[in-house]
Symmetry: C2
Subunit: 300 residues, 2 copies
């Protein structure tokens, strides 16, 4: 029995996975703020899905930069600056966990549900934007653990200012926080509110929606043309827009390719797919990584 | 003795490489037009560096899309639409060659000269623009052989029109053919002419130079942020500008990162390096691939 945990800004979700890779138990609870509360949440959901038994292997997906030893850095949404999460969880659970970046873990989980694809990019459309890439079932980290960090690639020098100091970054166009700031109206789900208002004819909302679509389109386009992944899986909160987002993204990808036999041959629209609904991909990927033969290391 | 050949639009260059990976002989001649002339050129340079002996292994880097069996497609600069190059060369040389895309072969060759780097992108700045990526000494092709095909990623929706139908593609900004077309003055080396004229105060040249710099800057930026290669190696004809190109690119990368601790931490300027001058990287990479344990296959 392997257990995987996905620690998000709002919820901590655990799954138990049997030897065939099937999810056989699932538990979630709100994520607390700060290192101790994060660990307490992990320990609680692990205990719930393990049914009192000590897990054979434990994997945890968490935001931020992750060292090979399981030290988490810059997980600002969790109130963590630098924290030895692996050691703290071992103390609480009795098993040394494998720690992976949450988006990369989700890429591994999504890839396991899309076995025809040799390489998958999981494009996390959340408050920020980043992609995780899995190749042959394993996360691909790159030279410095930054592979897939496409949020701060500028695709429009005249685009909206980004918090990183550039203009027209993918995250400035399509990141949930950036959209909410530009929309500046109270809403539980600002991006959904923007799409609804755009449908109702609001011109600002229409402009913001167009930016979301072109940001996501640019992300998918460059992930395929640079990393040539088989599939770009749309995930994260913004992806709950479903076909309201995917359809215009696919249309834009087809339009961008229409003048080029080469680009058309890449079948860009068909390579953008939703997250498989059958399992929580972040926790599943963490569980699969915990059971993988080789420990995760930083590096290419 | 392994032999590698780099078939370029203007010249065909062969090297002989000893068991230690050192280049021990080199030969070049102009590339002919069309399949037969291309094969004749390959046979001639191979015979010259082999000194009459049959090579133990032969690798060939050639533009275009390459099938696992060595069929070359869309090598328009060579007058080749679809051609079984591997079979034709075997008939002429007596050895079945390994065929690889020329830019990917150059990435392998450059990586062999930069052994501290686990992953290298060779950014070919020629009439068109594409990158080849090598990881752990082997080419990385991607799902459909398109990894590194960054020329037609748009980074400015208001930028110059590209032959692919989009606007503001990296190739439209910085590709040699696009620059020559926009400059529209007779010149043996149009991009050098543009840089010279920009130095002399010509406003059109200054605008074109700025576009070249931002195209190359965008290419390096997105190669690091997407594939997280250790190094981006500038190669191809436009790279003969040397520090006149690298210095402003590095300055622009530093400026783009200056507002973000994350981007600054990536050391983007230091990761853009010239092609090592010690050996012709395309032919060297082809030779190394010919001697690699596993045959090259298409796929991730």
């Amino acid at each position: 029995m392997r257990i995987g945990v996905d620690v998000g800004g709002t919820k901590t979700l655990a799954v138990a996975v049997d030897d065939a890779g099937r999810v056989v138990a699932e538990e979630r609870r709100p994520t607390g703020w700060g290192p101790r509360a994060v660990v307490d949440g992990i320990v609680a959901v692990v205990a719930a899905v393990a049914g009192g038994a000590r897990p054979a292997a434990l994997g945890i997906g968490v935001p931020g930069q992750i060292s090979p030893a399981g030290v988490v850095r810059h997980a600002l949404n969790l109130g963590i600056d630098v924290f030895d999460l692996a050691d703290a969880v071992r103390s609480g659970v009795g098993v040394l966990p494998l720690i992976e970046n949450d988006v990369r873990a989700a890429a591994v989980g999504a890839a396991s549900l899309l076995p025809a694809a040799g390489a998958v990019a999981y494009l996390n459309l959340g408050t920020g934007i980043a992609a995780g890439i899995a190749r042959d079932g394993m996360p691909w980290r790159g030279a410095r653990g930054a592979a897939g960090e496409i949020g701060h690639i500028s695709v429009d020098p005249a685009g909206p200012a980004c918090r990183c100091g550039q203009r027209g970054c993918i995250e400035a166009l399509a990141g949930g926080a950036a959209v909410a700031a530009r929309w500046a109206r109270p809403a539980v789900l600002p991006v959904v509110d923007v799409f609804d208002a755009a449908d109702a004819g609001d011109p600002l909302a229409a402009a913001l929606r167009a930016d979301v679509v072109r940001g996501v389109t640019a992300a998918a386009h460059l992930l395929v043309l640079t990393a040539d992944v088989d599939l770009v899986v749309l995930g994260g909160g913004v992806s709950h827009l479903g076909e309201r987002l995917r359809d215009p993204v696919r249309t834009a990808l087809a339009a961008a390719a229409s003048g080029s036999a080469f680009l058309t041959s890449l079948d860009l629209p068909d390579r953008v797919v939703p997250t498989p609904p059958s399992a929580p991909v972040g926790a599943l990927g963490a569980a699969l990584l915990a059971g993988a033969p080789a420990p995760a290391v930083t590096g290419v």
